[in-house]
């Protein structure tokens, strides 16, 4: 198995300032370039730029697919804020994000640190840690739903051997969200482990050698060299995880449908319900707009961080 190396070559490949380029201003090349840009302009225009603008417009309109859209001002937002489920969905989403951070964030870092010390058989570790990532989410969730079964599920049977439980898992508002987070951590950690691993391998060994000469123990070296060297990567993965978990949908939709007692109703699931169950596209767009602002800010921070990271 090839070693994973960082930083990636693609980020290095910014155009050299002195490179000679054919750089015509107008004329034939501009037309040729336009022809080659047609596929991108069509798909981005129709399926990205226009929907983004239209989403903004719809949040101030009433649309039912039959009559022409009608401007309603802030009525969609008013109805949205009057819905008691909005607060529930926001709280649940933040709970998911927080729990995923608490459980899902340290585990990959720990695993990657241990895996970086493995010399023989490193490929086996990487294969195993990444295996859950290639499983289609719906299959993985249905599998865990079966394991979570409070009657004869694998988890309660196993914990029962140790005299623990039985736990209600998905069936109780108190534990449902935690059950979702456990599955989602299992399914997603492989990617983070590989990125950390690449970053750890990339730390110059001179740093460790110098510290060792000064008598630093292994734990001291991990704490004072490995972790500080990883700070940019840790920040990036943190943001990436925040952006991903804010959009959590498949887990609550397939595991619980948002229940029990709306304890796993997330923001995106509420958007889905507004739009595709109630046909209330305006209110769905209004909530999407709010979510977009939060995600847009996070993405902006993320892109800024990526740029300074790949530039350094």
């Amino acid at each position: 198995m090839k070693t994973v190396t960082a930083p990636p070559p693609v980020t290095r490949a910014t155009p050299r300032p002195g490179a000679r380029r054919v750089k015509p201003r107008f004329g034939r090349t501009a037309v040729t370039a336009l022809i080659f840009l047609i596929p991108a302009l069509v798909v981005f225009g129709a399926f990205s730029w226009w929907p983004i603008v239209r989403g903004l417009l719809i949040s101030f309109q009433r649309t039912n697919l039959i009559d022409p859209a009608e401007w309603v001002g802030l009525a969609n937002f008013a109805a949205l804020f009057a819905d008691p489920l909005l607060g529930t969905a926001i709280r649940n989403t933040l709970l998911f994000v927080g729990l995923a951070l608490l459980i899902g964030f340290p585990v990959p870092l720990l695993l990657a640190t241990v895996m970086s010390t493995v010399r023989r058989g490193a490929g086996a570790y990487r294969f195993l840690v990444y295996l859950p990532v290639v499983i289609p989410p719906v299959v993985a969730i249905l599998l865990w739903k079966w394991f979570y079964d409070p009657g004869h599920g694998l988890f309660n049977e196993l914990l029962g051997l140790a005299g623990l439980g039985p736990f209600p898992w998905l069936d109780s508002p108190g534990t449902a969200m935690l059950s979702l987070v456990l599955q989602s951590t299992w399914a997603g950690m492989g990617g983070a482990v590989l990125i950390y691993l690449a970053a750890i391998v990339g730390i110059p060994s001179e740093l460790y050698e110098a510290a060792q000469m000064d008598g630093a123990s292994i734990m001291t070296r991990i704490w004072h060299i490995t972790l500080p060297q990883l700070r940019p990567v840790i920040g990036l993965l943190l943001l990436m995880q925040l952006i991903n978990t804010m959009q959590v949908f498949t887990e609550p939709y397939v595991f619980t449908g948002g229940g029990p007692e709306n304890s796993t109703l997330t923001v995106l699931l509420l958007i889905f319900r507004y739009a595709f169950q109630d046909g209330n596209y305006g209110q769905a767009a209004a909530l999407s707009f709010l979510l977009a602002i939060v995600l847009g800010v996070l993405s902006a921070v993320y892109l800024r961080a990526t740029r300074s990271w790949s530039a350094s």
């Binding site: 991108a40 840690v129 990617g191």
Partner: protein, 281 residues
């Protein structure tokens, strides 16, 4: 972080080895364990699943569960749907990324930077937040229940364009000039010079495209309403309500087999490719 000299010290060696073995055991348990239980569940009779959930293998294994699930739940049909979804999304993404990257990096029209900026700006807005208006747009275009409703939006992926453009930027410009002098047309420049040198980035984009569309759930759920055309992941989520437990598990195992086989075959490229782009699968 641990030097070879240190590693030869017995105490360090013993501690390190035990941590490594423990981690390997843990990874086996969480990596292979669930998959093994799924295969076991798939060949077990429903009664056995309830009576002996912890058994490592059923007393009376029934491999015919796979055949029953394949026939009763039309797994082959749904897998073929997924194949079409993934194949089309892959092709559209490659075409868009290559043509746009080529135009922006090699041809460099005066308006290129504005187009590139507008493309990159979409990275700030994940598609899930414009899903509602995307759905209305797909209705307007009459694409609901057509796979084009998945293929075309998949092509609007700014990250692919960024990867392609940056890779083309690093190719030697002298080559393009030389090809021009030799009388190559723009099309020949793309097909004969740029593409043959771009296999690594085409592989990375393909990999990301295939993994992404195989795993996507929410958009196919919204855009394909005809149960007959749904990809396997959407179909499974619906079947979960009605199908008997053992058949459902057999169906899940079959839905899982293609991506796991692809991973087994291409694992070194996949693992290296992820490090290459720094992207979380």
């Amino acid at each position: 972080m641990i030097s070879p000299v240190e590693e030869r010290r017995p105490a360090v060696r013993a501690a390190l080895r035990s941590i490594q073995w423990f981690t390997l055991g843990l990874l086996l348990l969480i990596g292979i364990g669930p998959l093994y239980m799924m295969v076991k569940g798939a060949v077990s009779p429903s009664a056995d699943l309830i009576a002996r959930p912890l058994a490592l293998w059923p007393a009376d294994p029934r491999p015919e569960n796979f055949v029953t699930a394949w026939d009763d739940l039309s797994i082959g049909h749904y897998l073929f749907n997924t194949l079409q979804v993934v194949g089309g999304a892959w092709a559209v993404q490659l075409v868009v990324a290559v043509t746009a990257g080529f135009a922006l990096s090699v041809l460099r029209p005066w308006f290129g930077r504005y187009v590139y900026g507008a493309i990159l700006a979409t990275m700030f807005v994940p598609y899930t937040v414009s899903m509602v208006s995307l759905f209305l747009t797909v209705i307007d275009l009459g694409l609901v229940d057509s796979y084009w409703s998945i293929w075309l939006p998949a092509g609007a992926n700014a990250f692919n364009v960024l990867l392609a453009k940056r890779f083309f930027d690093a190719l030697p410009a002298e080559l393009f000039a030389a090809a021009r002098i030799d009388g190559a047309s723009t099309w020949q420049l793309l097909v004969r010079i740029v593409l043959p040198m771009s296999r690594p980035i085409l592989a990375v984009i393909s990999l990301l495209a295939v993994m992404h569309s195989w795993k996507d759930f929410i958009w196919p759920l919204v855009a394909i309403t005809d149960p007959d055309k749904q990809p396997i992941s959407v179909a499974l989520a619906n079947l979960a309500e009605q199908a008997p437990q053992d058949e459902l598990i057999a169906a899940m195992a079959m839905a899982l087999a293609p991506p796991v086989l692809v991973f087994l075959v291409f694992q070194k490229y996949i693992v290296a490719g992820l490090g290459f782009t720094g992207v979380k699968g």
